[in-house]
Every structure is written in C-alpha cells, then in structure tokens.
Subunit: 408 residues, 2 copies
C-alpha cells in the first residue's frame, strides 16, 4: 500500500509533533512562513535580554531531516478540496491525501481601539526583539534625562505570558539595569493589567495570590479587575475612565486562531476550525485541525486552551488517526490529558500545578527549568540556553541587552 | 589634581580599549549609536548561521561598569572646541577636557555605481542578519523550483572579510544546506572577486596561494585580477565588460573612515582625521584620533591598516597620552606593533602569519580559534560561542539558519 501524502500547514508545536509521529509512514510536507519553529514559551526571555534570539528558534528542515520530510517556506492562499491540493503564495500547488491545519494563532485585540497601532504583540522573534529594543532605548533616554521622568511599561493580560514577561522585566530592571544606572532604573514603572479578578486564572486561587505577591515584591504594580477601553501612544485608557501612563505597551491579553485559515474556505467557528472530536474538519474528513487553530472542545463543551501541550497531543493524535484511516481502521476520539500548568515569576520563583499538586518557590522553579530545557528542540539550543541561563544565574546579569532592530 | 574628563566618541575596539586603560584615572563618557560593541571579526559567522547574533555583541554599559564610566547612546552632531563641548543628536551637550574620536569606518563603494543599491555591506549585526536572510530565502526558492535554476552569491573583496565569508558560506552550502536539500545546495555558486592579483595581500604569496586553493577545494570560484565596474540587481559588471551573475552581492572590498566625523569640522584627509604621530588631531591638541578613523601613518608614510589590533593599541596609547598630558609629562609617538595576521577559511583550514612565521592548516585554525575566543569580550559571549562552535564542529551542522528580518 502506498504511503499517504500528508501536507501540514504550520511548523509549530502541533505541526511538527504530527510530522515526527508520522515519521516515515507517510510522505510529509510541512509549510510555514518562517524557516524555523519558534519556541514561544521562552520568547519573553528574548524580550527581556535573557536569551539570544537564535536560541528560541529551530530550523524546520533540521527537525524534518530524520523523517525525510519536505519543507516549503510560504503561506497557503487557497484550497481545492476536489483535487486535494493547496496553493501557496509562491504559486506552487501541493497535492495531499490528508491535510493537517496547524496554523496557530495571532494576537487578538478584541476590537479594542489602539491595540494594533500602539501596543506590541509577542508572538514572533521580531516582536520579541522589538520589545527588547523599545525598553532598552527608553532606558537609554532615562539615563540621559537624569531627572524625575518616569518610563512606564504596561503589560496587558495576566496569563502566563504576561506574568512571566512582567517578572523577567522587573528582574532586568531591578538587576542589570540598576547596575547600569541606578537612577534611571529606579524611574521605570512596570504595570501588569488583568481584566479578570486574578492572575493566572487556570491555577488555583492560592497560587494566583502567591504569584501576585511575588510580582509585587519585584516591584510590579499588579492591577486586577481592570479592563482596558483603548490604548493610546502614551496611555492606556481604562473602562472606568482612568488612565495608566504607558510608553511601552505589550499586549498579552489573548490570542485568536490565525486569520489566514479563512483563505481555505472551510468551516470556521469563533476564528477556529469547526471540527469533530476525531479532529476532522466538519464535512472535510481528510482535513485535520490541531493546536490553537483547532476548534476541538473538551468534555464540558468549551474550546481547549491555546497552549503548546494541547497542540503537541493533537499533532501526535492526528498522525495516528491518519495512519488508522489509511489502513482502514476505526478512528478514535481525542481527549486532552491535562498534565498541569506552570509559570515562572523570577529567580527561584515559579508556580506549578498538576491535578492536586500545587508547588511554588524554588522547587517549582527548578521543575520549570528542566521541563523547558527538555522541550527545547535541538541540542544546540539546549546548550546555548544552558550557557545563557547559567551566566544570568551566576552573575545576576543579562548579557543580551542589545538593541537589534531595523532602525539602526 | 582633578581627574580629566575624557569624552570618547565610539564604543568599538579603539574607544573601549581607551576607556578601560583610562580606568578610574579619568571621568570617562563613551558615546555610541549602538548600546553594544560589535565584535566585527566574527560577524561573518552570524551571516553564515554559525553564531547567534547576540553572541557577537556586548553591552557597552557592561564594559564600562568596572571603571564607573558613563555611556550615552547617540551620535555627535557638532563640536564646540572653544568651550570644549560636543553636541549629540539627542541635543545633549557633553563637556570634555580631552576628546577621543574612535568612530570607526563604514563600507566604501569607491564610487562604483550600484553598490549602495544592490550590494549588502557587512559592518553591522543587522547587515549580517540580512545576508543570512537573503541567502536562506533564495535557498528556499531553489528548494521549491527543483529545476536547473542557479543561485549565485558573489563576494567582492579578497581581504580577510571576503575570504572568511566565502569559506564559511561554502561550508554552510556544502554541509547543512546539502543535508537539507542536496539538489538545491548543488545549484548555489559562490564567487569571490578580487581586483588585485591575489587574495589576502597582507600575507605572503605562499599563504595567499594556499588560501585560494583551500577555497577552491570548498567549491568557491575565486577570481583575482577582476575589477568591478558596476553592480546591478542580478549581475556584477566587470571592467572588461564581462558579467558575473549574482542574486546576492556582498561588498567586502573596503572601508573608509566614518563620514559622521565630518560633522565635527576638524581636519580630515582621505576620510580619516589628520593627526600627528602623537595621535593628536592637527591644530587640536586635546582631540585624539584612534582606530579606523585615525589618519595615523606608519614609518613608511602610509596609513595604518583599518583593523582591530591597530585600534586597540591606539586606544590604550591615547589613554596613556592623556594621562601624561594631564600630569605635565612629555607626549610619546605612536608606533604600531604588528603582531601578525590571520584568517580562517573553514574547518581545520586557516592561515597565520607573524614576522617570519607562516602557518596554515589545522594548527593555524586552532590558533585562530583561541585568539578569537580570548578577544571576545564577556564570559557569556565566550560560553555561548564555545557552545555554538562545539555544536557546529561535532555535528557538521549550523543551527542558526533562521531568517530574522523585518519582512517577516
């Protein structure tokens, strides 16, 4: 029996997990607009000068080498389901027997005015470097002013991304930047703004409270129950009419399924692909949806969270479904195994929650370190990250404070 | 006696060498348009995916910490010699007792048409990342074409920069890219074009010949005695009317003193500051010129080469001159101690020449490695570079093949 041709749109956690699980049992082609996978969970460390940008990226061709997979850099622009082909923006037409859509998510502004114009997202390496550049550039301004001017950095969104970014930023400011020029570092305010009643809503209340306390100890001004009405160039306008000064606003309030998936004209619901619990797209049994773009639901009828573990489990699951389908076996239903959540706040500070286990402090921090190193793809990134982390840990320094952007 | 206030324009090899030598014997302020020093001798490895961009940069504030030096990010726009002040583009006015100009060099196009428009320089991290992005993007095109289309990359200039870039590019193509997709890698041509009769003219003829042979073994098409008349978007036009196809042209043919120095209205000759052998600018005894921007000459009356060792020796020398001047001692005359030259061509391949010593092959390569690690500033960069290099060496891979640019 000929191997199935599997086309995977997206080389993130979901797409590459599917590719690797398919291995040599299928003819795999991965399409992505970047030639690398971005390790999104560590992007905030690029923003805060803890890691080199290249260490959170991994060449997709490298990842596909052992399974003899093909790669195409580009974006899909149309789907011809009758002929089972996808056209890319390069005008190339790729044939498939099975199509896996793993196109991920983009920053969601929820229609709030000014987010696109005045806030920075944190979904790509370029965006992470831009946050780093803006913070460091404003810091250099403060160093020059040598007066009472305050730089205000506001992070909107109290989920893991916002919490980790706020903590790392506070440590950058209170550590290396304070050593660089104390007066300037003492004039940087960091706000973390969350619309809901507490940080990290997926954790238990005790860990949320612990997280807030840890961040406040680092000097972060945490504001819960604070909804944003609009973002202006130097202010955040709140729903109650209040203003928070913000020269640099990072939008970590949420993501939505990649709008590029709409080019494919398949059923979309709430920005995610409408799919069965087999992860097959409604009416299109040969099209599978995994990761942030997938509209799969949990037993309680709600969408699954847009996080890497869901994408990886779905990627591996769909790989097996395709092989089952190809060999005439019955399909199975996906169910997400929640192995817990974790977030790091700073040196020796993290929270880990898995079922009934709740850990915070140094042990949680060590668990976080090891799991992130374990999941970081590629030995070179692992070695480089260990090098950067050891240096930061031992010296309390952040060596990657370089402003690398297109304005230089 | 009050310490002299020393203002240093430029935080490269010359400027920082001066700052460190002055140490706490002066009140030091360094001005640079970047907040980091760029380790230029390894920039070609960023271009060819061997090193992470952040590893060839080092925060200037970090370098100045131990001497309690001040830093300003910006560019000088005018000099008021009477009042001994320099104005920056930030409009800040800085006072000095002594001014060290160490503004370095920029890519020189020698008036050849099309260089600015169609060729890439390699003097900044952004330019190095742009070369990497263009090569990798064109490689992805070839992978898609899967036909007889050839990608031609031409490097103009057979000095150390051109030689090292050509060798590293050939190894990237013949190694990792060949593993990625052999057909595409086999359709990449690399030209190294030199106007003079041989590569590396500062070396002896035997090492030049060895270098050319090594590069040719790696598949580089070396063309000496080949002058460029103009650069077009997809071709290089030669003086004899010949055409060399080139989709990506890197201009490594030479550098000239930074034109920004002209804002200061001090005597300039051939783009470099006209200075005495005390390294004092003509008619301006309190203004010192070091490095690529300095018009200091060797005993034979020719300008000194624009290389890091000259800049570092001059930086340290000027620091001592200023302290001598400040304490009423007689000034000395600078003479450059040439400790030799080296260039690496590839794995186990390098040339080293110092006085009567001429070495090529693995030993030269090991010497090159150690000296570059030794001069790489900062423990973190050293660790990170060792990590990247070890990985590349052991796996024959290049992990940093990521296209990171503003078009993503």
């Amino acid at each position: 029996m000929a191997k199935p041709r599997v086309l995977i749109l997206g080389g993130g956690f979901g797409g590459l997990a599917a590719a690797k699980k398919l291995g040599k049992n299928a003819i795999v082609t991965v399409v992505d607009r970047h030639n690398y996978q971005t390790f999104l969970p560590l992007l905030y460390q690029v923003s805060t000068a803890g890691l080199a940008a290249d260490h959170v990226a991994y060449p997709i061709r490298g990842a596909l080498r052992s399974i003899h997979g093909k790669f195409r850099m580009g974006s899909p622009i149309s789907l011809d389901y009758k002929n089972k082909t996808v056209k890319l923006d390069s005008s190339e037409i790729l044939e498939f027997d099975h199509l896996i859509i793993a196109m991920g998510s983009v920053t969601a502004d929820f229609g709030i005015p000014g987010v696109n114009e005045h806030a920075l997202g944190m979904k790509t390496i370029e965006e992470a470097l831009e946050i780093r550049a803006q913070v460091m550039r404003r810091f250099e301004d403060l160093c020059r002013f040598e007066d009472e001017t305050v730089l205000s950095v506001a992070i909107v969104g109290g989920g893991p991304t916002g919490v980790e970014l706020a903590g790392a930023l506070a440590e950058l400011v209170r550590g290396p930047l304070k050593n660089d020029q104390a007066h300037a570092a003492n004039h940087i305010d960091i706000y973390l703004i969350e619309a809901g009643p507490r940080l990290l809503p997926m954790f238990s209340e005790s860990l949320s409270a612990k997280t807030q306390k840890d961040l406040e100890k680092l000097g972060v001004k945490v504001m819960c129950n604070t909804a944003v009405k609009s973002v202006e160039s130097r202010n955040i306008v709140l729903s109650d009419g209040g203003l928070i000064p913000s020269e640099v606003t990072v939008w970590a309030a949420g993501v939505k399924g990649s709008p590029d998936a709409q080019f494919l004209h398949i059923p979309i619901v709430s920005g995610r692909i409408d799919c069965d619990d087999t992860l097959q797209t409604k009416h299109y049994p040969n099209i599978w949806a995994v990761g942030d773009i997938s509209g799969a639901k949990s037993a309680n009828g709600r969408f699954l969270p847009m996080i890497a573990p869901v994408a990886m489990q779905q990627g591996r699951f769909v790989a097996k479904q395709i092989l089952r389908s190809h060999s005439g076996q019955a399909l199975k239903k996906f169910s997400y195994k929640d192995k817990g959540s974790m977030a790091t706040i700073g040196r020796h500070k993290a929270v880990v929650e898995a079922k009934k286990i709740k850990i915070s402090g140094p042990l949680a921090w060590v668990i976080w370190l090891f799991l992130h190193l374990f999941y970081l793809m590629g030995g070179r990134n692992r070695i480089g990250t260990i090098a950067d982390w050891s240096w930061n840990y031992l010296t309390f320094d952040r060596g990657n404070r370089h402003i690398i952007d297109s304005t230089n």
